[in-house]
C-alpha cells in the first residue's frame, strides 16, 4: 500500500501554521513493534490529521515504550505537530497497569479533544482502561467523525451487527475512540511537519502491578482454530477427494495456515466439522484467506467478510468468489498448489 504521491498544491485558504487550534488537539496512540512503527499507526496519523483539519486543531502522537525516541520522525509526512514520548525500561513489554498510568499522566494535563486508537488486541485492552481511568466516553470502531454545522463533534458507529448506525456526541473531554485501520487510507498531509518531540517529566510509579504475566503460549498456526488463525486456507468441492488434502496440508505447513472448508468439505469428511467456515460453522477474520475450489456461495462468504485479503484459486472465472478476491487465479488448484509449495520452499528456505 503506497500513499499517493502528491505534488504540492498552492494553498490559498488560511490553514497555515499561524492560526492554531481552538481545542487542545487530536491525540493518537502510536503502536510499534521491534523498534518500528506499525502500519496502523501511520494510517492513524493520517486519519488524525484529516480530523484535525476538519476541526482546526493540532495533531499529537503519543509514543510510549522502550527505545522509541527516534520513531516520532516517521510521522513527518503525515503532518503530526508534536509527539509526546515517554521511555522506560518497565514499558518494554506490555503491562496494562503501567501503560494506563503513563498515558493518563501524559494526556491528563493536555486535555485533547479526541484520543484515537487503531483497533488491535492491544488497544482493545487498553482503550477501555484509559477511558475508565479518565472517566470519559469510549466509542469503539467508529466509522466516521465529523463536525456539524454548530461545530459539535459527531461520531458515527455501527450497532446491532451493522444493521443500524448510531450518532454520538461527547459530553466530556477527551473522547476516546478507536477505528479499524483497514478502513483508513494512507494519505500524506498537505505539508510535512517537523514533529516536535516533548518528553514530559512524569514519574512511573512502580507500584505493585495487580496482575502478572507468567507465561505465553504460542499457538501452532496450522492447528489453531480457523476463527483465530491469521492465515486460513479454505477447501471446497474443488478438492475432489480426501487424498488431495495432502498437497494443501503441505502448503499450510509452509505458510503457517490453518485449514478450513466449506460445508461440502466437512460433509464429505475431508476435514473435521470444527473446521467448517460458513453460516453453520465458524466465522473467520484472518489476514489472508486462501480459497481453493470454493465457488463462494452466500452461506460461505457471509462468514469470511472479516478477512483482510482474499486470494482465490478456482477453475470457474465466473464464480462469485473471484469478485470478492483481492487476487483471483483462474486455474486448477491441483496443479497450482504443489507448484506454489515448491516455489515457496525455494524462496523461504535459505540456501545454507
Amino acid at each position: 500500500m503506497s500513499g499517493q504521491d502528491n505534488t504540492a498544491i498552492p494553498e490559498t485558504s488560511a490553514s497555515s501554521a499561524q492560526n492554531k487550534s481552538n481545542g487542545n488537539g487530536i491525540c493518537f496512540i502510536a503502536e510499534h513493534k521491534d523498534g518500528k512503527l506499525e502500519d496502523s499507526s501511520l494510517l492513524l496519523a493520517a486519519e488524525a490529521r484529516s480530523i484535525a483539519d476538519n476541526l482546526d486543531e493540532d495533531v499529537a502522537a503519543l509514543i510510549i515504550g522502550h527505545g522509541i525516541r527516534d520513531l516520532a520522525q516517521g510521522f513527518r509526512p503525515y503532518g503530526v505537530d508534536k509527539a509526546f514520548v515517554f521511555e522506560d525500561k518497565l514499558l518494554e513489554t506490555y503491562s496494562p497497569e503501567f501503560y494506563v498510568d503513563v498515558m493518563s499522566q501524559l494526556i491528563g494535563p493536555n486535555k485533547p479533544s479526541v484520543i484515537l486508537f487503531a483497533t488491535s488486541p492491544l488497544s482493545n485492552d487498553l482503550a477501555p482502561r484509559l477511558a475508565a481511568r479518565l472517566k470519559v466516553g469510549l466509542v469503539s470502531r467508529y466509522t466516521q467523525m465529523e463536525k456539524d454545522s454548530e461545530g459539535k463533534l459527531l461520531v458515527h458507529r455501527h450497532i446491532h451487527g451493522g444493521k443500524a448506525r448510531v450518532t454520538l456526541t461527547p459530553l466530556k473531554k477527551p473522547m476516546i475512540a478507536s477505528v479499524d485501520p483497514q478502513m483508513l487510507t494512507l494519505q500524506k498531509a498537505r505539508e510535512a511537519k517537523d514533529t516536535q518531540i516533548i518528553e514530559p517529566p512524569i514519574r512511573l510509579s512502580p507500584r505493585l502491578s495487580t496482575t502478572r504475566v507468567t507465561d505465553f503460549i504460542k499457538a501452532d498456526p496450522c492447528a489453531v482454530c480457523v476463527s483465530e488463525a491469521e492465515v486460513v486456507i479454505g477447501v471446497g468441492k474443488g478438492l475432489g477427494c480426501a487424498e488431495n488434502l495432502n498437497a494443501v496440508d503441505e502448503l499450510a505447513r509452509i505458510i503457517g495456515g490453518s485449514i478450513g472448508g466449506s460445508r461440502r468439505a466437512t460433509d464429505e469428511h475431508w476435514i473435521v466439522d470444527e473446521r467448517r467456515i460458513g453460516l453453520t460453522g465458524k466465522t473467520i477474520t484472518p489476514t489472508l484467506y486462501l480459497v481453493c475450489g470454493i465457488s463462494g456461495a452466500f452461506h460461505h462468504t457471509l462468514s469470511i467478510k472479516g478477512s483482510k485479503l482474499i486470494l482465490s484459486i478456482n477453475t470457474d472465472k465466473n464464480a462469485p468468489i473471484t469478485k470478492m478476491a483481492d487476487l483471483a487465479i483462474v486455474g486448477d488448484m491441483h496443479a497450482i498448489i504443489p507448484e506454489l509449495t515448491r516455489q515457496l520452499r525455494e524462496i523461504m528456505k535459505p540456501t545454507t
Binding site: 499517493q4 466509542v139 446491532h160 444493521k163 456526541t169 503460549i217 483465530e228 484459486i313 483471483a328
Partner: protein, 287 residues
C-alpha cells in the same frame, strides 16, 4: 465464592432490520447476549467446582427481566434487575458506574462480563467496573482457574493468532470473557424447574442509593440511522496530469481499487503471481 456476572438483553442482530421509512428498527426480537451466556455458563461451572453462589445482574428496562429468568433457569442463585426510568439515558460509562455501585455493596470474589456486547461492542463495562472498584482486570479470558486456598486465579487471555497469555492475579478481580471460554450449558430439568421458582430482585436508583445527578454521562446519543459505508477519500490530484487523467482518477475514487480481474495463467506463472502477492502484502518474507 461469590460470583457476580453481568448480562445484557440485546436485539437479535441476525434478524433486526432498519426501516428507512419509519427510521425505526423492524424485526425486533430480544435475546440474551451470546457472550454473556458464555459468562453465565462459566460462572455456574466455577460455582459447581468451588461452591458459593452466582448472582446475575442486568441493567435495563423492565423487559430485561427475561434474560434474568434465563440466568435463573441456567442455575444462577440470585438475579438482580437494576431498573429505573432514569436509567434509560445512561451511556456505557454511567452504566458501569451504576453496576459498580451495586457490586460494591457486597463482597464478590469474581466479577465476570462479556468482553464486548454483541449489539454495541464498546467493550467498556469490565474496565469501568474494575476502575470504579479498584480491582484487577483481565480482558478476553479463554480459561479461568481459581485457587480458593490462595485467593488467586490463573487465567489465559486471547492474543493475536490463537496465542495465549497466561496471567496471574489476586482475587477479587474482574474478568471479561471471550466467547471461546465456555461451551453453552444445557441445564438439567431439575435446575430449570428450580430456576422457575426463584424470583428476581428489582432495584431502582433510590434502593441503590444512587444520585444520578452525580454521575455525568460521557456521551450523548443523537439517534440511529441507516448504516452508511465510509466515504472514500479522494487523493489529492496531481496537477501535472491532463484533465482527462485527473477525471479518471476522480471517478475511480482516487485510491487503489480491489483488483477484481481474474488472472488466468499456467500453474508456474500463477504460483509466481501468488508469491508476489504474498510478498507485497507482507504475508511472507523473502529470505
Amino acid at each position: 465464592m461469590r460470583i457476580g456476572v453481568c448480562v445484557k438483553q440485546i436485539l437479535d442482530p441476525t434478524i433486526v432490520k432498519f426501516n428507512i421509512v419509519t427510521g425505526q428498527l423492524d424485526n425486533v426480537r430480544y435475546i440474551m447476549d451470546p457472550v454473556d451466556e458464555v459468562a453465565v455458563s462459566e460462572a455456574i461451572k466455577q460455582r459447581d467446582k468451588h461452591g458459593g453462589e452466582v448472582v446475575a445482574i442486568s441493567l435495563g428496562p423492565s423487559k430485561a427481566e427475561e434474560v434474568l429468568k434465563t440466568c435463573l433457569k441456567m442455575g444462577a442463585d440470585e438475579a438482580i434487575h437494576l431498573c429505573d426510568e432514569s436509567f434509560n439515558t445512561l451511556d456505557s460509562y454511567s452504566t458501569s458506574i451504576v453496576i459498580a455501585r451495586f457490586l460494591s455493596k457486597n463482597r464478590y470474589d469474581l466479577i465476570l462480563c462479556g468482553k464486548e456486547s454483541t449489539d454495541e461492542g464498546n467493550g467498556f463495562l469490565g474496565a469501568g467496573i474494575a476502575e470504579e472498584l479498584n480491582l484487577p482486570l483481565v480482558t478476553s479470558t479463554t480459561r479461568i482457574d481459581v485457587f480458593t486456598d490462595t485467593n488467586s486465579a490463573t487465567v489465559r487471555r486471547r492474543v493475536k493468532g490463537g496465542d495465549r497469555e497466561v496471567v496471574e492475579t489476586s482475587l477479587p478481580a474482574v474478568f471479561t470473557v471471550d466467547s471461546v471460554l465456555s461451551s453453552p450449558l444445557y441445564p438439567p430439568l431439575r435446575t430449570i424447574l428450580a430456576g422457575l421458582k426463584k424470583s428476581i430482585t428489582i432495584l431502582d436508583a433510590q434502593a441503590l442509593g444512587i444520585d444520578l445527578a452525580s454521575i455525568e454521562p460521557a456521551l450523548a446519543s443523537l439517534g440511529i440511522s441507516q448504516p452508511k459505508p465510509r466515504l472514500k477519500k479522494t487523493a489529492t490530484m496531481d496537477s501535472s496530469l491532463s484533465a482527462q487523467e485527473r477525471m479518471k482518477l476522480l471517478m475511480s475514487g482516487g485510491v487503489q481499487q480491489k483488483k477484481s480481474s481474474a488472472i488466468e495463467k499456467p500453474p508456474r506463472e500463477a504460483a509466481a503471481e501468488i508469491i508476489q502477492f504474498l510478498i507485497d502484502n507482507r504475508i511472507i518474507v523473502r529470505q
